[in-house]
Symmetry: C2
């Protein structure tokens, strides 16, 4: 009678956390195989989307910290995936653009992410996936970092 369910296990928050851990492990492994990091992918996606932007703008678009953007772009630049040029009229800014190399890398990583979704969603029937995505989107909806 008293409470019903007890413990964190069995609660929605617990299972969401487990699912996240599982998803994270899958992504980490596939990205590691591919020799990249999720940050790199996020940045390449945003750059392909936005065109040439400053690092600060990139950080805002991807919700990454400017310091992490700075570091990750260093790696991507070394690999020739992006180029940084200083802004003509505002010399504080590094204007970043994706390169042809970068687009190839992006396409490769897109496939990695697709494979990760497939692995992660494997326990759900095709019909369930739409409903799940709809619900989990609402549950994560208003989330912003502190």
């Amino acid at each position: 009678m008293l409470g019903g369910m007890e413990g964190l296990e069995g609660r929605a928050t617990w299972w969401v956390s487990r699912a996240h851990l599982h998803a994270h492990a899958i992504l980490q492994e596939l990205f590691a195989e591919a020799g990249a990091r999720p940050y790199h992918y996020r940045l390449l996606v945003a750059l392909d989307d936005l065109g040439a932007v400053s690092q600060a703008a990139l950080g805002r678009a991807t919700e990454l910290d400017r310091s992490d953007v700075s570091v990750a772009l260093g790696v991507l630049a070394e690999r020739g995936c992006v180029v940084r040029e200083s802004h003509p009229s505002d010399r504080r800014q590094n204007v970043v653009s994706i390169t042809g190399e970068g687009r190839i890398e992006l396409a490769r990583l897109d496939e990695v992410v697709d494979r990760a979704q497939e692995l992660f969603l494997a326990p759900l029937a095709q019909g369930e996936r739409v409903a799940f995505l709809d619900m989990v989107t609402r549950l994560g909806g208003g989330q912003r970092r502190a």
Copy 2:
């Protein structure tokens, strides 16, 4: 044509991660208000369930590291929520039991966790919650820490 969906955003793994962040933030805040940590709750639940057990057994039951169990039990013992006695025939072991105080604290934290579920699941209609829990349980199912 080419790929369809691009970017981590919009993918299932992304939204699960967002939902996890949201759930985590809710739990952290409510536990902080209550002056406790999720570890404490996990341990109290297990102790209430198992009765008197060694710290090592507790660690295995809760999937917490022995070292973290040791530290968290130190806090709980200071607050009078648990007692540690050395095992009569195996003097390596600390046999831990929940106290009356501990059971009161546990009941209090159970309510905290219930409130957290309510807040977290608020975007879902009552009927959806069962379906969501079923699916997310399957998605987190086989997960074990490395």
